[in-house]
């Protein structure tokens, strides 16, 4: 029930490319899983609260002080491309 058009929309949201045959194949495989997932509709959950987190904890804070941190060199170590100490990326603004 996921159309090829919807698959392409989702791919764009997910920053993934789907080419040619892949679109139909992906839409098909996902449709199969979504079909299975639809059985959740058999359950009446109108009076049930959603669980997003198992543990009964609220926001966890810490004191805003600098402890361990990476130096610049370490932060740049895995950079695919860098220039003058910055991560460089394709031009964004014309």
């Amino acid at each position: 029930m996921l159309t090829s058009e919807e698959a392409l929309k989702v791919a764009k949201l997910a920053n993934l490319k789907l080419s040619g045959d892949e679109v139909a194949s992906m839409a098909g495989k996902l449709s199969g899983v979504l079909d299975y997932i639809n059985q959740l509709n058999k359950l009446d959950t109108s009076n049930v609260k959603p669980t997003s987190h198992i543990l009964d904890m609220g926001d966890v804070f810490r004191v805003d002080e600098v402890t361990q941190h990476f130096d610049h060199k370490l932060s740049m170590e895995n950079a695919p491309a860098q220039s003058r100490g910055y991560f460089s990326v394709p031009r964004i603004i014309e």
């Binding site: 920053n15 996902l30 959740l40 543990l55 895995n78 695919p80 394709p90």
Partner: protein
């Protein structure tokens, strides 16, 4: 092993050399490791021997351990079995690594997994599949297949895996070893590459319940670097090995013994119930009525959280970046991610993105969260009278490589008995129970209430001592 090291019967260097020889001999067939840290391990072993000679006493001093390659070890490559992280050098060590090192352990290397921990067979690795040491035509399970196989093959007594939907317990079952998933919040996730943040937990593999208890003692406990870590004292689980199951109520949920479950698997679990009853436990049939919906819930919540957690892999600051220059920045993102992620990862990101997208969020994600509450309530109700719950770990013995790769849903259904524990956040353990007619391991799962790893260890060791399980000699 720790005792032998401490008493001087064996040296860490000898043990690590032995492990490396065994790895050299068996790895071409098993492929449990992505990277064996040969020189570093020997150097660490040498240091351990020096410390032992000085009389230092630590629980794992000189003991070699293997680590699933989704946990960061500072200055070493952490791949997550993905091309997108192939050359990523970790800038810091995970808390569990720091804890293992404080306990004196020697890191042997990083083990193979399904890419980003997404899978149940370790066939989704970008660096090749791991094979089951019991029969190389079969899978070791997943996603922590490498860590499970490493212990089963005798490379090291302890390894670490991660469990989001069963990824420790299921491979433990398939490889005939003990594997434990702690209560959510028991073990720090700091430094574990996140898959689904409300489900992920790190846990140990070992040949025996005792080894797993020792490893849990080393890695468990509150960590302020993980905001989902729980500030409760970590019990000494080796004390739980000394207790017995007299008066334990062992629940057998009828929904786990339905038609589709392999009869050999059912027999091993029912025999386990008998063995526990003989030791003074009371067996009771219970119901976990929402069991059949657990996979559906898991594949909504898990993939939704994964789509969010994997959004960071965009080629900007680390990891693979596409050389395709089309489409500017956005083109870079999508080319990078499409090139770098394997098909299963891309499928799950797509599914997760869809269920979170506008118009579908309520119908899928919120709905799944509500059913998660129902599943959690099933367990809360059960633990009012049960001490532990006993079930199969996997619905079948280990399947053949390639058998379930054609239809993703078939693969997903192998998690049917393990996902509920992650959704409810309760601890679960696999204990090897017996062999199938084809000589393949079948495991037994036990689950306990939140933060009750103590009852889990006591019940597990009671079963382990009462049953016989053959050693694997390869």
């Amino acid at each position: 092993m720790a005792r032998k090291l401490s008493s001087g019967e064996a040296s860490s260097t000898e043990i690590v050399k032995g492990a490396l020889e065994r790895i050299d001999r068996l790895e071409p067939r098993i492929k449990a490791f992505i990277k064996v840290e040969r020189e570093d391990a020997l150097a660490e072993a040498k240091t351990a021997d020096e410390r032992i000679a000085k009389g230092e006493k630590l629980p794992l001093l000189g003991v070699p351990v293997a680590i699933k390659d989704n946990m960061m070890v500072e200055n070493r490559v952490t791949t997550c079995a993905s091309k997108i992280m192939e050359n990523f050098r970790a800038p810091y060590s995970a808390t569990v690594i720091k804890k293992l090192r404080s306990a004196g352990a020697v890191i042997l290397g990083k083990t193979n997994l399904d890419e980003f921990a997404m899978g149940s067979s370790t066939e989704n690795s970008a660096f090749g599949a791991t094979r089951n040491p019991w029969n190389e035509k079969t899978v070791p399970g997943g996603s922590s297949g490498g860590s499970s196989a490493a212990v089963a093959a005798g490379y090291c007594p302890i390894s670490l895996g991660s469990d989001t939907g069963g990824s420790i317990r299921q491979p433990a079952s398939f490889c005939g070893v003990v594997g434990l998933k702690p209560t959510y919040g028991r073990v720090s996730r700091f430094g574990l590459v996140a898959f689904a943040s409300s489900l992920d937990q790190i846990g140990p593999f070992g040949k025996t319940v005792e080894d797993v208890a020792i490893a849990m003692n080393a890695i468990g406990g509150y960590d302020k670097m993980d905001s989902t870590s729980v500030n409760r004292p970590m019990p000494d689980l080796t004390q739980s090995l000394k207790k017995d199951v007299k008066g334990f109520v062992v629940g057998l949920p009828k929904e786990y013994f339905i038609g589709g479950v392999d009869p050999e698997v059912q027999k091993v679990v029912r025999d386990a119930a008998d063995l526990l009853a003989k030791q003074g436990a009371r067996i009771e049939e219970i119901s976990l009525p929402h069991t059949e919906y657990a996979i559906a819930v898991y594949y909504v919540i898990g993939t939704a959280e994964a789509s969010s957690n994997l959004a960071r892999y965009d080629g900007v600051k680390y990891g693979h970046r596409s050389k395709n220059a089309d489409g500017g920045l956005e083109g870079m993102y999508s080319s990078t991610r499409t090139e770098g992620f394997g098909p299963e990862v891309r499928r799950r990101i797509m599914l997760g993105t869809y269920v979170l997208s506008s118009g579908y969020y309520d119908a899928y994600y919120i709905k799944a969260q509500k059913v998660r509450t129902l599943i959690l309530n099933d367990f809360k109700e059960a633990f009012k009278k049960c001490t532990v719950i006993l079930t199969p770990t996997a619905p079948t013995p280990p399947f053949n490589a390639g058998e379930k790769t054609a239809d993703p849903l078939q693969m997903y259904l192998s998690d049917i008995f393990s996902v509920s524990a992650n959704l409810a956040g309760i601890p679960g353990i696999n204990i090897p129970g017996g062999l199938s007619a084809h000589g393949l391991p079948i495991g037994v799962q036990m689950m306990a209430d939140h933060f009750d790893e103590e009852s889990l260890i006591t019940a597990a060791v009671a079963y382990e001592r009462a049953r016989t399980f053959p050693a694997l000699s390869i």
